[in-house]
């Protein structure tokens, strides 16, 4: 299938501080790095310390530090922070709130001010060499054009969801504060879905709403029994850059362990050939027992009440409309060896796990 990636020209293990290591991607990334032999520090809120220790009880290479990224002074616990600070040479920041329907205030506090606090904290690390920031492919959230990895729109006002808006603001801050003392690597993952081998996931975000939508459609007899085609306001060119979480973790591990010598690097962590939204929906519908062909029609006001009826969050509209091409040149150039599973091979696994957890 795909081969595990290994660090080339292996040096001494890095001392990596992970912020957001208990999250969906974070936990998996922590494990992956731990298995590579890196020394890890996890920043965890004091109230979540016990849970974190339980989650990673089997890993020996982890030191826990107390801290809340919403606090101006990040390190609040009693550990001998001074010595720890000198050891850290790599920081990975992926702590964020990532629900599409999150309020702007919450997203701002956690994603923007949180990032601002992290950036300030980096100045206290005398031996820092690498800062990895997790943004999102939707940080620009434009509907057309060719988006380069190095592009980031400033002062954009019309976002489809508050999460993307907050990540845009946070990434702008990161870019504004790029330092000569350490390298900054911005990771922009695509749409994260469950594990490609097991379908395991933490929540039903993003494309899982489409599975819900399809399940709701199936309840309608006219759709289930009569229709062969389904008209939907989907742009023909719109794309769903889905990435299984294990593939993403694999890629990120490789990038973290093999950084390029550059002050700022940005990568669209998306498949080489993202699946179109139309194909995603059709294949998902087929897997879920509703083999309809989608007819792409223009969006009209009629669909807003329909979506509400079918409980599709308005934030998903972006996925149906966005036809911008996401460029992947930086990733292809710097890491040509990255491989990915085919969508059609892991989709049934995702859906199987989805159905299992829904019953």
């Amino acid at each position: 299938m795909f081969e595990p990636l290994s660090r080339q020209n292996r040096h001494d293990p890095m001392n990596i501080l992970v912020i957001g290591g208990t999250g969906f991607i974070g936990q998996r990334l922590v494990r992956s790095l731990s298995h590579k032999g890196e020394k890890l520090f996890l920043l965890v809120r004091e109230g979540s310390l016990e849970k974190a220790k339980k989650t990673f009880h089997d890993l020996s290479s982890i030191t826990f530090l107390g801290g809340d990224i919403e606090k101006t002074d990040l390190l609040t616990n009693l550990f001998s922070a001074g010595e720890v600070l000198n050891e850290i040479d790599c920081v990975i920041h992926l702590a964020a709130v990532y629900q599409l329907d999150v309020s702007f205030q919450e997203a701002y506090l956690k994603n923007v001010i949180g990032t601002q606090n992290v950036l300030k904290f980096l100045g206290r690390l005398p031996n820092l060499k690498y800062f990895h920031f997790f943004s999102t492919y939707a940080a620009n959230q434009v509907l057309k054009g060719n988006l380069l990895e190095d592009d980031l729109i400033k002062e954009k006002s019309n976002f489809f969801d508050n999460y993307a808006k907050s990540k845009n603001l946070a990434e702008n801050l990161v870019r504004k504060n790029v330092s000569k003392k350490y390298q900054t690597i911005v990771h922009r993952p695509g749409i994260i879905v469950g594990n490609s081998q097991t379908g395991e996931r933490d929540n039903d975000n993003g494309p899982y709403y489409f599975f819900d939508f399809i399940q709701n459609l199936k309840k309608l007899p006219i759709v289930r029994d009569k229709l062969k085609h389904l008209p939907l306001p989907v742009q023909k060119a719109s794309m769903m850059p889905v990435v299984p979480v294990d593939t993403l973790v694999d890629w990120c591990t490789h990038i973290i362990l093999n950084p390029k010598q550059r002050q700022l690097s940005t990568y669209h962590l998306i498949p080489k050939q993202p699946i179109s939204t139309k194909d995603f929906l059709e294949q998902s519908m087929k897997c879920l027992g509703l083999p309809l062909e989608i007819i792409c029609i223009p969006k009209t006001k009629f669909f807003s009440p329909l979506f509400r009826l079918l409980r599709i969050p308005k934030e998903l509209v972006f996925y149906m409309e966005q036809a911008a091409h996401l460029d992947r040149t930086n990733l292809n150039t710097d890491y040509p060896q990255l491989i990915e599973p085919e969508f059609k091979t892991y989709l049934p696994i995702l859906i199987k796990e989805y159905l299992r957890t829904k019953t």
């Binding site: 919403e70 606090k71 101006t72 702007f104 205030q105 701002y108 506090l109 923007v112 001010i113 601002q116 950036l119 300030k120 400033k154 002062e155 006002s157 603001l169 702008n172 801050l173 504004k176």
Partner: protein, 677 residues
């Protein structure tokens, strides 16, 4: 470590963290922009009030003052309540002291900055700390509040108008919650809204940096902008709008770009030994750090050629008949009527002088000549206030055309207080040009004496007599002072005895080695004078008996009209009569209409205006009837520097050629010989 949060209503793309040291304290300043989300602002205040020592506000609508009432904006009120005991600073105390003071300092250097100008405020409702200052200066105020706050494209004229607007709207505005960013596009209404014409026609525009973020600017070409602080973004925006000059009231520190007035107030507050910031502390701060306003000129918008203006008028009613189409008036009984009527015609642009270029640095200047069609008689008999009005109007016209300095020619500088009142009412500095007129007289005199060769120097002084007629006038007095250091004997002549005595006394103290004599009768000493300088306002009336003048005398007739008539001059071919005061400008000078002089020769007073513009000395160099000896020296030096020189010597009928001087000398020698025998 002291913690300050600068809470900005604007974009969070400006979020920052900075650490500074001040008054022995380490201070961490965190900037948070809430992207125009007030609920977020409140959330942040509530969350971080216990973690910081002070909040500094930016971009919020602060206090609105309407006469004796202060309306605190509901958003600011809510923020203060949410902050609890944590102080919330808004910068008002600092602005109240710093901005008028900075403006005052600037106006001390550039006195005409506000004179007779119209100042447009994009929004005046929160500028109560600076409006009283403008009120003290003679300028018109116009406000864009209706458009800025409500999108209604009508400007508000004057403070009364603003007060009326605030009376009605302040309660609404102070409760208005800005939920999303609304940018007011002034450029969109610039050409469409007649009701905002007075706003867009203003000379100077006032805006704060916070307001600039909510504003799409109109075309500011040729305009001056006053702004509180200037960041790089703001500078780019103003340059894009083609603002010619930008006056920055409060410095931006390159290494601390986020040090706004509210942040400085917060810093002063948190480092204060008693923890309470007062106006006294603000004054101490301003004195300690010597805040200086800064003017920045937009070189891209700025024209490479500077412009000046000059006012001329016909020197006699006969010149009215020389106007194209009016030649029928020549020697006609209608000429007197024409003279009266012409004086009622407003001043207008007459011609342009181009191609003036400094020999020193290649600086180019252009002159705009304005004609006020009133003869000397009309200027002296018209009520002086009307003349002031006419001249001030021309100054305004010239200013609108881009002139930076204006000169008064001939009798326009004699009427009333010799330019003082006109200067006060003019939007640009005014000069009479008398300093260079006096210098040119002296150049001409020196040239004439040298060419005649009849008087020689002994111990550094001309061994002869020099008489100055009209010696108590501005040009005459200064000539007397300069010549008193060059001649053995000086005779000063003026009609009023007490003035003569005053001048004699002054000259004796100034030049103790010269013999100084005063008289009201020029004929008494004309027979012994080797040089006569005549500078009167006799309007062509006879001031001296030509028959009594010593043969070989050089007469510099500065007056216009001439004191020595053509007829009298013709009687004495043995006297060299120079119509001094004319000079030539450097460069390839072109004048597109006649100004009564030959070729590219110009009046010295006009040349002074051009010279000052070339030098960038845009001030009222010559004003009132007093001239300064030091300024004569200075103008002489500047003339040499830039290449202004005496033109070919002009007589009553035109250029005086070398051969004519030789002939004159021969006649003089013959007549001196006859006299001796």
């Amino acid at each position: 470590m002291k913690e300050i949060i600068k809470l900005s209503f604007g974009s969070s793309s400006d979020n920052f963290d900075e650490e500074i040291e001040m008054n022995g304290h380490k201070i961490h300043i965190r900037g948070i922009g809430v992207d125009y989300d007030f609920d977020l602002a409140l959330l942040i205040v509530k969350k971080y009030a216990s973690e910081c020592d002070a909040f500094a506000l930016s971009g919020f609508i602060l206090d609105i003052k309407q006469q004796n009432k202060t309306h605190v904006h509901a958003m600011v009120k809510a923020i203060r309540e949410a902050a609890g005991d944590t102080p919330v600073l808004d910068g008002n105390m600092l602005r109240k002291a710093a901005f008028p003071w900075a403006l005052k300092k600037f106006i001390d250097q550039e006195k005409h900055f506000l004179s007779n100008k119209t100042i447009a405020f994009y929004t005046g409702l929160v500028q109560w700390n600076i409006l009283p200052f403008f009120q003290e200066h003679d300028c018109k105020l116009v406000f864009g509040d209706l458009f800025f706050s409500m999108g209604v494209p009508v400007s508000i004229n004057g403070l009364k108008g603003l007060d009326t607007f605030l009376k009605i709207n302040a309660p609404i505005l102070s409760r208005m919650r800005l939920k999303k960013k609304i940018k007011r596009d002034f450029s969109a209404v610039e050409t469409k809204s007649i009701a905002m014409k007075s706003f867009f026609d203003a000379d100077i525009f006032f805006i704060t940096e916070s307001q600039l973020k909510f504003t799409e600017l109109n075309n500011l070409e040729g305009k001056t902008v006053i702004i509180d602080r200037l960041s790089q973004d703001s500078e780019e925006k103003l340059i894009k709008a083609k603002a010619q000059r930008i006056l920055i009231l409060f410095p931006s520190y390159a290494n601390l770009p986020h040090l706004s007035t509210s942040v400085i107030e917060a810093i002063l507050h948190v480092t204060h030994p008693r923890g309470i910031l007062t106006e006294e502390d603000i004054l101490d701060y301003l004195q300690t750090f010597e805040i200086q306003p800064r003017i920045q000129t937009n070189e891209l918008a700025e024209s490479k050629i500077d412009h000046f203006a000059f006012i001329i008028h016909p020197l006699s009613k006969n010149q009215i008949a020389q106007i194209p189409g009016l030649s029928f008036l020549n020697k006609s009984p209608l000429l007197d009527l024409a003279e009266n009527l012409a004086a009622k015609v407003p001043g207008h642009h007459y011609c342009t002088i181009t191609g003036i270029k400094s020999e020193f640095d290649g600086k180019e200047v252009e002159g705009h000549l304005y004609m006020i069609p009133a003869t000397p008689k009309m200027l002296l008999t018209t009520p002086v206030e009307k003349v002031y009005d006419s001249l001030s109007n021309i100054c305004s016209l010239a200013h609108k055309r881009g002139a930076k300095l204006i000169g008064l020619g001939a009798y326009t500088k004699i009427v009333g207080d010799a330019g003082v009142t006109v200067n006060q009412r003019s939007p640009i500095p005014v000069t009479t040009g008398n300093t260079l007129s006096a210098a040119a007289t002296l150049w001409a005199a020196s040239f004439g004496i040298e060419k005649m060769g009849l008087v020689h120097k002994v111990d550094g002084r001309f061994d002869g007599t020099c008489m100055i007629i009209g010696a108590t006038g501005s040009i005459g007095k200064i000539c007397a002072k300069v010549l008193a250091n060059q001649w053995k004997k000086i005779v000063v002549v003026a009609p009023r005895p007490y003035k003569v005595l005053e001048l004699v006394s002054l000259l004796k103290a100034f030049a103790p080695e010269a013999e100084i004599i005063g008289t009201t009768n020029p004929n008494k000493y004309s027979g012994e004078s080797d040089l006569i300088v005549t500078s009167t306002s006799a309007q062509g009336e006879k001031v001296i008996d030509i028959e009594l003048i010593k043969p070989g005398c050089v007469v510099c007739d500065v007056s216009r009209p001439f004191d020595i008539s053509l007829e009298d001059a013709a009687k004495r071919p043995d006297i060299l009569i120079i119509a001094s005061g004319e000079v030539e400008l450097p460069g390839n000078v072109k004048i597109d209409k006649t100004i009564g002089l030959e070729g590219e020769t110009v009046y010295a007073c006009l040349a002074e205006t051009a010279l000052l513009t070339m030098e960038g000395l845009l001030e009222s160099f010559s004003l009132s009837r007093e001239l300064s000896y030091e300024k004569i020296i200075q103008i002489d030096r500047l003339s040499r520097k830039h290449g202004i020189r005496l033109s070919s010597i002009m007589g009553h009928t035109g250029e005086i050629k070398e051969i004519e001087i030789d002939l004159c000398r021969q006649y003089a020698l013959e007549n001196l010989k006859k006299k001796a025998t």
